[in-house]
Symmetry: D2
Subunit: 346 residues, 4 copies
């Protein structure tokens, strides 16, 4: 089958490799019909995720059709259309049982990381019963792909951890796909104001179309002052960090009001400065989270009900044969005005 292989920093190739086979009774083999590329895949290609070994098939998002189900799989059978969760969950360990499969003892983020992933014609899914979701009749397939990772990431790490509630003032730092996903899902909780901060005016324009009530370009280094001005100096109820840099985490610390929340989504490569000399008395809550994807069934309901509309996140489509081009487009998102790209295999 065709698959996108990582060959060490800076190297990737679409090549023919053997199809995966069942290894455990709880595995399923899924024929991938649509997948996508995540910012994390770009990090891997830069060599920033050393736990990914050369030879690995990348990709942890996608939908497909059950090709073969192990004897221990009871919830799915050949032919079922399924949504692949970016988090593999054994469903049995202490962390799975406390809604935290991101830290599953045998699972967690495996696909395209420590086992082969979804940017291929077929993928082996361990613990299929607790790591796949049935796609309902009538669902839009492109939208389903957004439920593998990016929507639960924005919702769980940003919106739920930030405890967004009706009437709140929310700031989202970063208007890339993850920030926009937080922006979309935040609206499930009806905040009064959503201020989006980014360096790129195009992205800010997109943020407005996605529901931002105000946007702030941070290129002049005055984002914090501008956000504070928009809140009459009181600061925001919730600051969502969707970049992963010290500078953006710094903005969050400046703009969060007393009693507020800083919800970190960004993947950080270095430590940051925490201003406890100011914040110790400000009654704030800071959260971090690797997405657990436990809200996927709930978000799926919201998509089916038309309350959550992920399609605008998708800007480009490519066949699997052109996945290298898809990577180029996604990797130059600014120039290409790209958000998420769908890679189709049909």
């Amino acid at each position: 089958m065709k698959a996108l292989i990582y060959h060490g920093p800076g190297k990737k190739n679409l090549e023919d490799v053997p199809r995966p086979a069942l290894r455990e009774a709880t595995d399923a083999i899924v024929r991938v019909t649509k997948t996508t590329i995540c910012g994390t895949d770009l990090h891997i290609l830069k060599g920033e995720v050393p736990s990914v070994m050369p030879g690995r098939i990348l990709g942890h998002e996608g939908i497909g059709v059950i090709e073969e189900a192990g004897a221990g799989v009871s919830r799915f059978r050949k032919g079922d259309r399924v949504l692949i969760s970016c988090i593999t969950a054994c469903g049995k360990c202490a962390n799975c049982r406390r809604y935290m499969p991101s830290h599953c003892e045998q699972g967690g983020w495996l696909l395209g990381h420590t086992i082969d992933g979804t940017q291929a014609e077929f993928v082996r899914i361990p613990f299929a019963d607790t790591s796949l979701h049935l796609i309902p009749e009538g669902a839009d397939e492109d939208s389903m792909v957004m439920l593998s990772d990016i929507l639960p990431t924005g919702y769980e790490c940003g919106v739920l951890n930030g405890a967004v509630k009706a009437g709140d003032t929310v700031a989202i730092i970063g208007a890339g796909p993850v920030g926009l996903s937080a922006l979309l899902t935040a609206q499930l909780d009806a905040p009064g104001k959503i201020i989006v901060v980014d360096l790129d005016d195009n992205r800010l324009e997109v943020a407005k179309q996605f529901g931002a009530t105000a946007v702030v370009n941070s290129a002049d280094g005055k984002a914090a002052e501008k956000v504070l001005a928009l809140t009459s100096g009181k600061g925001v109820d919730v600051a969502i960090e969707a970049v992963g840099l010290a500078a953006t985490f710094e903005i969050c610390q400046h703009i969060v009001g007393a009693g507020g929340h800083i919800a970190n989504i960004g993947v950080h490569g270095a430590s940051v400065t925490l201003h406890l000399e100011k914040l110790w008395s400000q009654n704030i809550t800071i959260t971090t989270r690797l997405v657990d994807a436990v809200t996927t069934p709930q978000l799926l309901k919201s998509v089916m009900a038309g309350k959550l509309k992920p399609k605008p996140l998708i800007t480009h489509h490519f066949p699997l044969g052109e996945i290298i081009k898809a990577y180029d487009t996604f990797g130059n998102a600014g120039r290409a005005h790209a958000l998420k790209v769908i890679v189709t295999n049909e």
Copy 2:
């Protein structure tokens, strides 16, 4: 001044009475500019609320302008435009401090009940600092009147107590003003489906316009079966009782799914049958609540942000001089296609 006086069961009159004066330092006198009529006022007129004595000025909703503030009032001064809460809160007692001013030791529901109310040119508001809210610049005044009682009632007793969350299936039994208020405020939490049940097709049509995703006419006694059918037999996540009768509470018990909520808003005049022989094992939660109006500031933000639009609740306007006609209209809501009526004094 003109005021609508209750003279015992079946008797009311608009007449001239002395203007109220300050009694305590924490009082304010408010010149009422807009008020409305509540279903509770109709109950009072039927003699069903014996704690209301003849001679009482009715009304517990409205907005106005501070005419005079006692020496102990620090948050408002003459000329401020204010929203009157239906719940008077001392702000100091144990119940006020646990967000339950409905059971305030000195307050609670006083206006138009145990002290004179708002269906008059002026009203005395005890504990003004904690029982009034400043109306922001640019607010729609009619919408503000809906924040005195009906919106917090739907939201607190129905939506919050029912723990509505994104993707849920919610049923609202009763499409009168209170049920519609639950319907409007439930949408702040983005449920997937909202099924509204009522006897009246006109009201059900209105419910659709207010955002119901399905409606069920209960006239044939088969409402429960129909709601269950709409949920593939699983039952609803949240059943909101917005009528106050044994029969409607019975429907709620039939349609609530395992793990679900029954949130009672209705004012009940008689006991009901609770089917613990079935429900003991169904992991359900039943709540009751006299509105606390503690969410009014939050709902005010939602209205100002355009996330909550209460204007469609208002179907009629009358000057204070025609309040008897306003009562007739509201009292014959079905025939008049009336929801809330605004009574203006300007």
Copy 3:
């Protein structure tokens, strides 16, 4: 093997039957070393649980040793000492994933109900990985048996559902094993006062030894008045119903204070009267629950830490060969001063 068989209302027998065998890959066969008898077993014997068919081996509590584990069992192997949960959980269905395995699509209360139970030398446990718990080194075995059902029942249905918090005043209606279990586990949340109500002075004496701060004998029909007097007329924060009768649920409605909780544990055979004509405005919460046993790992930690001491719940021991005598003792608990009886098979 020896097993206690139900032969229809009023009939039970200890007899030799074939040992159970694995049926599914996710099954385990457990050699039962200790079991106990539940009030529910007595209900079954009275014919009040028609879903139990004649020929059934009774019992849903106990500990033992893994005799054989199916190919799909990954967390246990032959020789492991295990605690058997009264609730069988597939770990995969929507209800299991929302912490509600009592309503598991394939599990729930199966043992000694719709499949053979633990009052035998061996028992087949479906979904063993998610329905058994490893017994830690050094654990007291009798105490472990109390974690199968009665402690999580008291804690989940009574204490957690009742939202008991430090300083609260709690009333527990019924001082049988379930009420005493609520009494023990309530103390994990440090309520200020715990008032226990029962008809039997001996039981009330036991309740005092278990930590009740006051006891009320309800034989004179004045329990509610007495409890109210103990709370200066304010009512309790939490009323826990641990009997299952209309009369005891009635007491709960009388004694619950505004803003309080009624947590039902009792198994009710008939409907009750709910006084919504009074309670509609009292901001109360009523909960029901079939135990989910999801807190067993947490309670196990509390037992191992010495914070929860269940041994006093155990009053009698019998070998499996004398289980009929054990039933007699438990069935005449009042006369025998019996709480829980341990039935040992070694």
Copy 4:
């Protein structure tokens, strides 16, 4: 009257000053019968709290008797015995209404900070109705002093913010009075293990007497490794920082397990390093809080019920005339084996 006056860094004096008088109708004058010294008072004396101006009477804790109540005070009258909250709450502003009076628009930490405090014969208490608590009959007076600040600080900033629950493993870094207060109040939630870390063996010995299940001396710089070893490498559920230094916050980051909480109590004078490069994916929650003292009524119930016993926190007593000596003792806590010192004025 006698009062302890701050005269700038390093300078304090007990001198005669005029008695305070009522300024606002909502004020009360309290004759202070017992007060104490807080670590914050030592910070002030080192000049580290520049908002405290020379000439200020120090002290924000204590109990006393109402000497005079303003016309606007309704809950207290001359002669009432009262507990003084370290946080002054207007009870009316948005922050007071969301249980966060630490950030009250007109109140917050005022006593011994921006207005004269309690280390004097008399003190003026603004917003007396919402800033004092009635002392119940039979209460131990020394214990009541512990409810002004230190117990709610340990409970709110450490235990509640840390979300301690039954069975948890908790680490408390710092065994000074604040850490010990967290240790005492944590036991209201029945954690399974409480590990206390400090540099001083004497304090660790005290911690054991207060209920620590394990202690770790951090003098060798290996505290984190030792705590991890005590948790089989998994890390703690809750790490409570009760010192206020970068080094101790660093320990917390090392020992917190996935899904855990870091609850900061310490007053930090400098920023710290936050290891987001590791923690971004660890699903942790970090909280900060200036005590709100909103749990004082609840803790008062727990003290009266005997569930919380603060007396061992008190090691020394001095008359007001010897308050300089009391400061010496408290300021050399290590040498003097001092925890809290009571200063009496009778």
